[in-house]
C-alpha cells in the first residue's frame, strides 16, 4: 500500500509493472488517471496550480488506502497525486488497485478516487483569460463519496 505526493510526472506502465511483479497472486489490476483539461465551467484553462497540506495530505491518502484494504479483498493499492504547476494534458492523479479478481479491484479503485476527491487536502487554482481562480468543490463529488458512507458498502 503506497501513497505519494510529488511534483514529478508518473509512468503508469512502470508503476503497474512494479506492482504486479511483487505478487503472483494478483489476477486483476484496475487503474484510474485524472488529467488536466483545457476547459472548466465554460472557460479555457491555460494551466493550474495544485496546493496541498504537507503531512496531512499524505496521512489522508494513506488512511483512504487503508480503508479500501479493510473493505475489499485486495492485494495492493497505489496512489500518486501531483502538486505544483500543471498544464492541460498533464497527469494529476494515479490510482492502481491489484487483487485476485476484478470486482474488488474496480470497486476499491472507484472508492479511493471518490474519497480522495472529498477528503484529501488538495486545492486547485486555475488560470483563465480573466485571471486565476480557485476551483469550487462540486456537490456531485460529495454525492459520489456519500454512497460509500455505510462501512459495509461495496
Amino acid at each position: 500500500m503506497t501513497a505519494r505526493v510529488q511534483r514529478e510526472d508518473f509512468d503508469i506502465g512502470a508503476e503497474i509493472a512494479a506492482l504486479r511483479r511483487a505478487d503472483p497472486g494478483i489476477g486483476a489490476i484496475a487503474s484510474f488517471i485524472g488529467l488536466v483539461r483545457d476547459v472548466n465551467e465554460g472557460d479555457a484553462i491555460a494551466g493550474m496550480t495544485l496546493e496541498h497540506y504537507p503531512g496531512m495530505t499524505e496521512k489522508a491518502l494513506a488512511g483512504i488506502v487503508a480503508e479500501a484494504k479493510g473493505r475489499w479483498n485486495i492485494i495492493d493499492a497505489l496512489v500518486i497525486h501531483r502538486v505544483g504547476e500543471l498544464k492541460p494534458l498533464d497527469q494529476i492523479v494515479l490510482v492502481v488497485v491489484a487483487g485476485a479478481h476484478r470486482g474488488a479491484a474496480f470497486a476499491a479503485c472507484e472508492f479511493i478516487m471518490d474519497y480522495l476527491k472529498t477528503q484529501a487536502p488538495f486545492w486547485k487554482k486555475e488560470q483563465t483569460a480573466q485571471g486565476a481562480r480557485w476551483v469550487e468543490a462540486r456537490a456531485s463529488d460529495d454525492q459520489a463519496a456519500e454512497r460509500w458512507r455505510d462501512p459495509q458498502a461495496k
Partner: protein, 85 residues
Amino acid sequence: MSIRILYFARLREDMGVAGEMYELPMDAGDVKSLRARLIARGGASAVALGPGKAVRVSVNQDLARDDTPVKPGDEVAFFPPVTGG
C-alpha cells in the same frame, strides 16, 4: 499555552498569512469556539472565516467537526472544501 494555526488556498490569501501562533484562553474549547474567537478579532479573520464561508477544519491533521476539542499544542488548519483529483 498556544496552538499553531495554518491557512490554506483561498483562506490563506484572504487571511494574508499562511499561519500564526494563537494564544488559547484557559477554557480551550472546541473548533466552533476557536473559529468564533478568530472571527471576533475582525478584519481579515472575519472576512475569511465568517458565517456563510465554506470552511473545513482539521485538528492535528485529521478532519475535524465543530465539536472537536482544541488543546494547547494542537495544530489546527482552516481551509476551503478540497478540490484534488
